[in-house]
Symmetry: C2
Subunit: 550 residues, 2 copies
C-alpha cells in the first residue's frame, strides 16, 4: 500500500527547487520599499548591489562561497503568484494604489544581471560574492532571499572544509539531522557539508535528493533492545561463498570463550544483551558489520562481544567493518581498541583484523580533532553532528547586500563603525597570483578600469589605511566575478555538486598554508586599486558631516 503518487508531488520534484524559496521569502521592508520606489518613479533606475561579508567565520582567514545555484534558480523563477499579491495587499496599508499590485504581478527578474564568484571557491571579506545589477525595484526585492541562500550555505561549507583539513585523509560523515534548524536546515547542512569535504551523511532524504553517500549502522537502543542470547530467533548464517548455513550463535559463543582471556575480564561480566544484539546485527548485515561498542563498557564488554562476532564472521568468509565509539575518552579507547585488534590479528592469524575501522562520534568539533591529532589516536572515521550543522563556533555568516551604485553614480553607506563602511561603485574583482600558483591578493577596481595584466606592476592599497599599500606584479590574473544570469537566461552552465566539491579542494590549494591553518592564521590581503581608493575616500568626505565635539 504505497502512498498514491497521483496528485502528490514526488519529493524529487518538490525539491528540484526548495518549494519555499519564493519571492515572499523576504523581509517585509523590501516590499514597502518597492512601493515607495514605485511611488517615487524610481523602479527602473539602474542599481548595482554587492553581496559580501565583512569577517571570515570561525576565527579563520578564508570562507568558501556556496549557494549560487539556488540563487540563480531563485532569480530565474522570480515572480509573484496571485495568492502572493493578495497577501501583500492585506499587509500593506490601505492607501497603497491598486495599480502597484498589477505592476508587482507582472514583475520578473528579466532585467537583472547576476555576476558571481564560482561556487565552491575561496572568498574574502569585502570582495563581492554576488554583484547584482538591474532595475532598482527588482534588485532590491531579491536581497533577503539571496542573503538567506548564500549565508548559511557558505558558512556550513566553510565549516565542513575546516573539519576536512583538520581530519586530513580520515573519513568524515555528517550526522547532524537531529540538531539542525528543522528539516530544511538539516538538508542544507547535509548538502553543503558534502560539498565542503565530507564523505557522506546519515540523512537518508539528503542522500536521495542530492545523491550523497549515506552511512549508518545502529544506535544504543538496538543494543538495549536485547537482553540475552535466548531471544535470538534467527541463528543461522550461510558462508559468504554459499553453502550450508551454520549456527552462527554457537560460533560466536565459542569465539568469545576463546578470546575473553585477552581482555582480562570474567565471561560473566560481559553483557549478553549486547552480544545478542551484535550477533543479530551481523546476521542481518554480514558484509557490513559495524557495531557501536559503548552501550555498557567498551573495554569489558563492547570490544569482546564485537570481536567474537567479527571472528565468527571471518570464519564464514565475511569481512567485518569495525566499531563506533560514542562516549568516553576517544583517543584512549581508540588506542585500546587498536591494540586489541592487533593482538587478535596476530593470535588468530587474521591480518585484516588489525585494520578494522574505528569510528568516533561524540560531540566532536574542529578542536577535538586537532587535539586528537596531537594526542595520537587510532580513529579512522568521524561522525559529526551538532558542531558541524549549527556551526557552533559562529552560527551565522554576516553576509550583507549593499547598494554601491545607482544610475551610474556611486553610493556609499557610512557608519560610526569604519568596518561597516561600504566600498562604493560598480567594481570588478581580480585575484592576483604569484609563482607556484599561490594567490597573493584580491584586488577591487572600478569597473571602468583596465584589468590588471600579467607581469605588470599594480599598486594595491588597503581600503581604509592610507599607509598600507604594496606593488604587486602578478604572474596570473583571475577575473573573479563571472556573469551567470542576464536577459532572463542562465549564461553559463552551473556545475554539478561533484564539480563544486572538487573546486573547494582545488580552491583551498591556492592559499598559502599559513592562511589556511586553524590557529592564528595569517590574513589574506584584500585591496583596492589606487583609483578606487581615491574614489572611495572622496565620496566618504563628501557624505560625512563634519563633526563638532560637544
Amino acid at each position: 500500500m504505497y502512498r498514491s503518487s497521483n496528485g502528490s508531488v514526488t519529493p524529487e520534484k518538490r525539491l528540484g527547487q526548495n518549494c519555499i524559496v519564493q519571492p515572499l521569502l523576504t523581509d517585509l521592508y523590501q516590499i514597502t520599499m518597492a512601493y515607495a520606489y514605485w511611488k517615487s518613479g524610481k523602479t527602473q533606475e539602474h542599481a548595482v548591489f554587492d553581496l559580501f561579508f565583512r569577517k571570515n567565520p570561525f576565527n579563520g582567514e578564508f570562507t568558501i562561497f556556496a549557494g549560487l545555484e539556488e540563487c540563480v534558480k531563485f532569480v530565474d523563477k522570480f515572480s509573484y503568484s496571485k495568492s502572493d499579491i493578495d497577501y501583500i495587499r492585506q499587509v500593506l496599508p490601505s492607501n497603497v494604489e491598486e495599480e502597484f499590485y498589477g505592476y508587482l504581478g507582472n514583475l520578473t527578474a528579466k532585467g537583472v544581471s547576476l555576476y558571481a564568484m564560482q561556487e565552491g571557491s575561496v572568498v574574502f571579506p569585502r570582495i563581492p560574492m554576488l554583484r547584482v545589477e538591474g532595475p532598482l525595484i527588482v534588485v532590491q526585492l531579491l536581497e533577503t532571499t539571496l542573503l538567506n541562500l548564500v549565508n548559511y550555505a557558505s558558512l556550513i561549507t566553510t565549516n565542513a572544509s575546516r573539519f576536512r583539513m583538520a581530519a586530513n585523509k580520515l573519513n568524515l560523515f555528517e550526522f547532524g539531522l537531529r540538531r539542525a534548524q528543522g528539516p530544511d536546515g538539516a538538508l542544507s547542512a547535509s548538502k553543503y557539508s558534502y560539498i565542503g569535504g565530507f564523505d557522506g551523511t546519515s540523512n537518508v532524504l539528503a542522500g536521495k535528493l542530492f545523491n550523497i553517500p549515506v552511512k549508518g549502522t545502529h544506535a544504543h537502543s538496538y543494543v538495549t533492545s536485547f537482553n540475552s542470547l535466548d531471544e535470538l530467533t534467527t541463528k543461522n548464517l550461510a558462508p559468504s561463498k554459499g553453502g550450508k548455513p551454520v549456527d552462527f550463535v554457537d560460533l560466536a559463543v565459542s569465539w568469545r570463550k576463546k578470546i575473553v582471556s585477552i581482555f582480562n575480564v570474567m565471561l560473566s561480566e560481559v553483557n549478553n544483551g549486547e552480544f545478542a544484539a551484535f550477533i543479530s546485527f551481523a546476521i542481518a548485515f554480514p558484509n557490513s558489520y559495524l557495531a557501536l561498542v559503548d552501550t555498557y563498557d567498551v573495554k569489558k564488554s563492547g570490544l569482546i562481544n564485537f570481536s567474537a562476532v567479527a571472528l565468527a564472521l571471518g570464519d564464514l568468509g565475511y569481512e567485518p567493518v569495525g566499531i563506533r565509539l560514542d562516549s568516553g575518552d576517544l583517543a584512549y579507547l581508540s588506542l585500546v581498541a587498536r591494540e586489541v585488534f592487533t593482538q587478535i590479528s596476530k593470535d588468530f592469524k587474521r591480518p585484516s583484523f588489525a585494520k578494522l575501522m574505528i569510528m568516533a562520534s561524540n560531540d566532536i568539533n574542529e578542536e577535538t580533532i586537532l587535539s586528537l591529532n596531537e594526542q595520537g589516536h587510532e580513529i579512522d572515521s568521524f561522525g559529526i553532528g551538532t558542531h558541524l550543522v549549527t556551526c557552533q563556533k559562529q552560527p551565522a555568516l554576516g553576509g550583507v547586500y549593499k547598494m554601491v551604485e545607482i544610475n551610474g553614480q556611486a553610493r556609499i553607506k557610512l557608519s560610526h563603525d569604519v568596518d561597516k563602511v561600504t566600498i562604493p561603485g560598480k567594481k570588478d574583482a581580480y585575484r592576483l597570483y604569484g609563482d607556484n600558483n599561490l594567490a597573493l591578493i584580491d584586488l577591487l577596481q572600478i569597473s571602468s578600469e583596465d584589468p590588471p595584466e600579467v607581469g605588470k606592476k599594480v599598486l594595491c592599497r588597503h581600503p581604509f589605511q592610507e599607509s598600507k599599500r604594496a606593488f604587486v606584479t602578478p604572474s596570473k590574473v583571475e577575473n573573479l566575478l563571472q556573469l551567470y544570469w542576464k536577459d532572463g537566461k542562465i549564461c553559463q552552465p552551473l556545475p554539478n555538486m561533484q564539480e563544486i566539491k572538487e573546486r573547494v579542494v582545488n580552491s583551498l590549494k591556492i592559499l598559502r598554508p599559513d592562511i589556511r591553518r586553524a590557529l592564528n592564521p595569517t590574513p589574506y590581503k584584500v585591496a583596492v586599486s589606487d583609483n578606487l581608493y581615491h574614489y572611495l575616500h572622496n565620496l566618504w568626505l563628501e557624505n560625512a558631516p563634519i563633526g563638532e565635539l560637544s
Copy 2:
C-alpha cells in the same frame, strides 16, 4: 501574468505540513536497525522510548517545549512511498531480503501511542517531553524526525521567551531570515519566535503561512538610492482627512529650516539624499512613517530629516510612527532621540511627538537588552535577527530519544558519564505545586505507581544522589504526559498557535522568579519516586560490570 495555479501546489498546501517532513528525513541507521529487527523477529516487540534533554539551554533553568503539532502530523502521515522504498533498496546491501521492502511499504504508525507534554509548557531536564510506545520497529523509525522537529522548535521558543522576559513589555520583532539555516530554518524561527513571545516577524512568507504580524519599513539602500531633493518626482500629498494635495516637499523643507537650530547643526551638513528618501517614503506611507535614521549620522542628519518630515506629516493630520536605529550606541542615541522629540513636542505643541517609537536593531542579544535596561534607554521596540534565530549562545538543544522499556522489561543505557545514564522503565511525570500555584518539583514515577495526591506527602529523590531527597505535600498535582495519538488517531485537539503562545506566558508564571531569571538562576527540582529510585539503581548495578583498576 500570475504564475499558473493548476499543477503547482499553493504554498499554503505545500506547507500545511512541510513537504520534506517525511519518513526518509531520518538517519540511515534507523533503517538498518529496522531490517535487523525484522530479521530477528523483533518488529512487534512493545517498546517505550522517552524523548528528553539533559540540560537547559542558554545557562538557564527552564526550557519551553515546542514542535508537538509537527510531530503528531508526522506520525499521522508516516508511510513510505514507492520511491522511498526504491531508494532504500538502493542504499541497503544486496543481501537484504526482498520481503522486507514489502513489509516497509505497508508500515504505518497505527500501533503507536504518543504521549506528550503540552506544547508551549515549561519542561525540565530528564522529564520526557514525548513518550512513544508501540511496535519496536516503528517507534525506532520515528526517532530522528521527532528529534529534528522538537529540538530546534523548543530551542528557539525558549530563546524567544528569554528575550521576551528581558524586554518586559517592549515590542520584539524577529528579523532573522537572512541569517537562519536556509529557507525553512528561517520559517521555523519566525513561527516559534512568535510562539515564544515575539510580536511579529519581518518574514513575509511566515506571515502568510502562519498568520503572524509582519513588520518592516526600509533599509539603508532606500536612503542611499536618493541623492537630492531634485529627484523627487512625486511631491504632493493630500491631507489625512482629504482635500487638496499640498506640496509636501516644500512643507518638509520649511520645517527643516525651522528646527535645524535645535540640533546645533548647519543646514549644509544635513544630508539631502536622506531627506529626499524620507520625504518620498512619507508620501508613500503617510500613516505608517517609520524611518531608519543612521545611514549618515543620527544626530547631525537622520534625526533632523526625520523630524522635519514627521512635522510636515503632522501638519496634514498624519501621525508619524517613529525611527529605527541600526548602529552606534543604542542607549545613548535613543536618549538623544527622545530628548529631541520631547523638545520638538514642546516647542511646536505636538504632544504625540514625545511618544514617537524608537526601534533598535543592531546585533542585539539577550545580554544587550539586559544591559540597556541597566543603563537606561528610550527604546520601545527591538528587531532581533542573528542571535535569536541561530540561538548563538547555544545553537542546539541536546534532545535525545532513548529506549526505556521493551516487552514490559525496563532498559537502561549506561555511560562513563553519569549524566548520560537514562532513567529506565515506562514512567509518568507529575508536576507538584505548592501554594500560590507555583510549581515545586517535577516527579517521575513508574507508570504502575499510584499518582501523587493533593495534600499527601510524597518522597521525592534526586535520581543519582542518594542523600538528596525531600518530602513534598502538593496542593495541586498535574499529570504532565497526555495522550495525543493512539490507534491511528489524534486523541485530543491540537491547540492553535495563539493558544500555544498564551500557554508559554502562563506556563512561565508557575515558576518562581529566581528560576526564570537570566543571571545565575536557581535550578528547578526534578525528582524520581522512591520506587523508581531503587528500580533505577538495581538495574544499574545489574548491568554495570565491576571494574578493576589496572
